[in-house]
Symmetry: C2
Subunit: 216 residues, 2 copies
């Protein structure tokens, strides 16, 4: 029987993540790890940003799912370069999976690489993939109490994106509550209020990301 | 450094789960493990069933969250006996946590014990808690493609509850797609289409659960 300690796995992951980061920087690609619940709007956000980000070379996506290729197929149908990782039941992406998947792309061809993590507000937060920054999505139907309930992911992200804001009139969701809870946990992270349906907030995220990529 | 193997942990969990199950049966309490994404409607479903299930003694809830007591407070405010487990960052409940939490309840006082797992469609699926049956929730805003994307949880549950069905007119969500995908994976599990807002489907689940409890 093979015995491995959790601490050792995480240390090995951090080393691989650093290797990924060096490779991404050398290729001049800015890498964004997108986290959120199942059905929170991760793929839709990436599609919306594809139309708004300044793209000189190209934009690619690494898709993480337990099984299937639904999201990668969906992106490919829109002409977006997509590589699917099938985690085969594992609840998060790790740096090793991303290393393998990123070797399926010619990184030099891209300005932007989005990594869409497995739909899960918990486990992905513990794994550095070598990204430049991490976005966490919170969709209006999920409720405004999630910052308190899932602190790790909200603490470790550089921005919070509220999605499906067009549904705000139909839900008891207070954007101000999210901002308040986040202020205690992660005061420097901006909160973007967005709807892919109406286009609200997408331009603001695109501008913020473009600034972040320039300032790297 | 302490070294533990994943396989060994799961085996120890299964043993503890069996102990829980014996204790629950001896006390005559029927135990339901409720799984679903963050904000999928788990607490709301338990509240709705509280008004519909045949209750001779009482109904209690063990609440699992990474942090905070939001849901336990909410249930307690409605007069429902609730014990909170704070997993402190862990992505699922395990049999040991449930063993400890259930000792805070006088089990003989209850017909029904609901265990509301951490909001997560992935990890909780791997951990037997000693429950009689497992329900998985899928809310309409999450999308109808989740059975394929998160097969383990849908395969290991005894019923699938579609929640927030009052939102069906606003989303491209095909209930039939969920049924079809489930037929391949878990053909014996019924699919209930429900809305806590309109009350749709709640009576049907209550009847189904009452039958399951009688037939145990």
């Amino acid at each position: 029987m093979k015995i491995v300690a959790a601490k050792k796995i995480l240390k090995a992951n951090d080393q691989l993540a650093e290797e990924n980061r060096h490779r991404f920087h050398a290729a001049g690609v800015f890498v964004i790890n997108v986290l959120g619940s199942p059905g929170g709007g991760k793929t839709t956000l990436i599609e919306a940003l594809h139309g708004r980000l300044p793209i000189k070379r190209g934009l690619a996506v690494i898709e993480g799912d337990l099984a299937g290729t639904i999201d990668a197929d969906r992106l490919a149908a829109r002409g977006i370069a997509a590589v699917q990782i099938a985690t085969e039941g594992i609840c998060h992406l790790d740096a090793n999976m991303v290393s393998a998947a990123s070797r399926e792309l010619e990184l030099e061809k891209y300005d932007w690489l989005f990594i869409e993590n497995v739909g899960n507000l918990v486990c992905p937060a513990g794994f550095d993939l070598g990204e430049d920054l991490r976005l966490v999505l919170l969709s209006v139907p999920e409720g405004d109490d999630k910052v308190i309930k899932y602190p790790t992911v909200f603490q470790s992200s550089q921005a919070v994106i509220i999605t499906k804001a067009d549904l705000l009139p139909h839900f008891e969701f207070q954007v101000e509550r999210v901002r308040q809870d986040l202020r205690k946990l992660n005061p420097n992270a901006p909160v973007f209020c967005t709807s892919a349906k109406t286009g609200e907030g997408i331009e603001e995220i695109a501008t913020w990301l473009a600034n972040a990529a320039t300032g790297r």
